[in-house]
Amino acid sequence: MITEAHPAAMPGRPAPILADTATITGRNLRRLVRVPTLLVFATVQPVLFVVLFSYAFGGAIHVPGLARYIDYLLPGIFVLAIGFGASQTGVAIAEDLTTGMIDRFRSLPITAAAVLAGRVAADALRNLFVVALMIAAGAAIGFRFHAGPAAALAAVALAVVTGLAFSWLNLLLGLAVRDPESAGLAGLFPVIILFFTSSALVPVVTMPGWLQAFAKANPITVITGALRTLCLGGPTTRPVAEAAAWIAALLAVTVPAAIARYRHATST
């Protein structure tokens, strides 16, 4: 028996966009712990990255001025793990599109931004966990923060904020390519290319000259550089400002583009 009035038709809900974003965040957090692939991306993969890269490259690479390679490596691995994890966001939104979930959300009295931001917020919480896990794994094999607790917290915050840009980029990719498998590839591809042409694994000065110019401007180099100064010490203002500028630029493009795509998205 239908006993309710039509509460949906009642105006004057307080701050509905925040409540709706929280509801969608809850949905995505539940999925995070229940979908096996997502769980692996959030737990096994980050630890594997830390251990494998550290032991595979650590013997061969000596970074001037640093005693342990793990101190140099870990900030870059933050970015890699977050970037790889974000590809699952493109997969998920493309799945929602093909299964009709987006049709359902779009027929509800909620804004586009709430659906997408709910996804990004869940990603941010996952990334907080992933970064903490990588710090723990890194610490087990010798990683230490050298610039104090405030800078360490700032590094974690910057890593999570970097994740926001990756998440919005993958939402846009997933809505654009529409097919879950293609969305996964589309999300991983730029991360792989940018990661290996950045300073994440080796200092840029060790690269051939033609690659150095690209590597210096590469956003992963810029962001990794900022993370490194926060972890290891040194002047932070300029690197962090440059990283923030890259992230802001990415968000300025991807957020409105993803919302615009979502507004016209429907399953076929």
Partner: protein
């Protein structure tokens, strides 16, 4: 007209060269059920998506619950429920979690959403599965959960796009019963279906669309009459030429009998269904013919199309051209 909850005038939508909808008019009075009947690809889903604000029409206009769908989509969304063609539920949430999520997004409090979820799982016979992940559900259970989600806010206008496709007879009956209760309480429903029986059972008014245009509309009785009434189906026993059955009975029909020689089957359109059965028996006895099966039934969608379109739509009435429905 004054109390119509849905009106559409000249709705048109193109996808590239394809006219998915080409000048559709319709009207749904408050509290009524409109059945939209048509084969796959006829434009049913496009029509529902435009009325539910998911797609913008290229031509024409539509009002739902007092608001123009293109100009005030947010106002429309507060007053509709939609159950699309595929079960749009999260398979990694439980049935209960899915419903509570949708309820929260409609603006219910957590307590209200839980109570409504409980009511709906009961109504749609989902109690046993409410606490289980949807990925363990059968196709029919997912479908019913999807319908339950569309009912969460008790919306005054409900869109159901082929709601019983994939349901077993039990699930179909449960859904029909819920829809009956809803309409008795004043909910207006627009329902698409490929099953003429379903439209007849649920809808006071039916429109038949094909190739994006309305080819017939009326009450189920009017359409049945135009489709040539009931069909008498006879099965000839092995060894007896079914054409002899057709010859003996053709004078009773309102149209030409269709003979399927390979299957030994004869189908004859008849006007006064049960009333002619004694005459059928008499003629068969007089001609010394046997039947191994006899049925009086409603025309199938294909037969109704054939009759209403003069045969032109016969080719498109087969649902075998793929599973997409534009």
């Amino acid at each position: 007209m004054a109390d119509a909850v849905i009106t559409a005038e000249g709705l048109g939508k193109r996808f590239g060269p394809v006219h998915a909808l080409d000048g559709v008019d319709l009207e749904l009075p408050a509290g009524a059920v409109l059945g939209v009947l048509g084969p796959n690809g006829a434009g049913k889903t496009t029509l529902v998506r435009i009325l539910a604000t998911l797609l913008k029409p290229d031509q024409g206009r539509a009002r739902v619950a007092g608001f123009d769908v293109a100009e005030h989509p947010a106002a429309v969304r507060r007053r509709i429920g939609l159950s699309g063609q595929y079960a749009a539920v999260d398979q990694f949430l439980t049935g209960q979690e899915n419903l509570v999520m949708i309820g929260r997004l409609y603006g219910l409090t957590r307590r209200q959403a839980r109570r409504r979820a409980g009511e709906l799982t009961g109504q749609l016979e989902l109690d046993g599965g409410a606490g289980r992940l949807v990925r363990t559900y059968s196709g029919g259970m997912r479908r019913r959960l999807d319908v339950a989600a569309s009912l969460l806010a008790a919306p005054p206008v409900l869109f159901l796009d082929e709601p019983t496709t994939g349901l077993d007879p039990y699930g179909r009956l449960a859904l029909w019963q819920v829809l009956g209760e809803l309409t008795a309480q004043g909910t207006s429903v627009l329902l698409t279906t490929q099953y003429i029986e379903e439209a007849e059972r649920l809808a006071g008014m039916i429109i038949i669309i094909d190739h994006g245009t309305v080819i017939a509309s009326g009450t189920p009785g009017q359409l049945m009459a135009r489709a040539g009434g009931d069909r008498l189906e006879l099965q000839s026993p092995p060894g007896q030429d079914p054409r002899r059955l057709a010859g003996a009975l053709s004078a009773l029909g309102t149209g030409e009998p269709a003979v399927d020689a390979a299957a030994g089957r004869v189908v004859l359109p008849v006007a006064d269904g049960p009333g002619i059965l004694p005459e059928v028996a008499a003629r068969l006895a007089a001609a010394g013919l046997q039947v191994s099966g006899l049925a009086l039934r409603r025309p199938t969608l294909e037969e109704a199309f054939l009759a209403l379109t003069g045969g032109v739509a016969a080719a498109t009435a087969r649902p075998a051209h793929g599973t997409r429905s534009a």
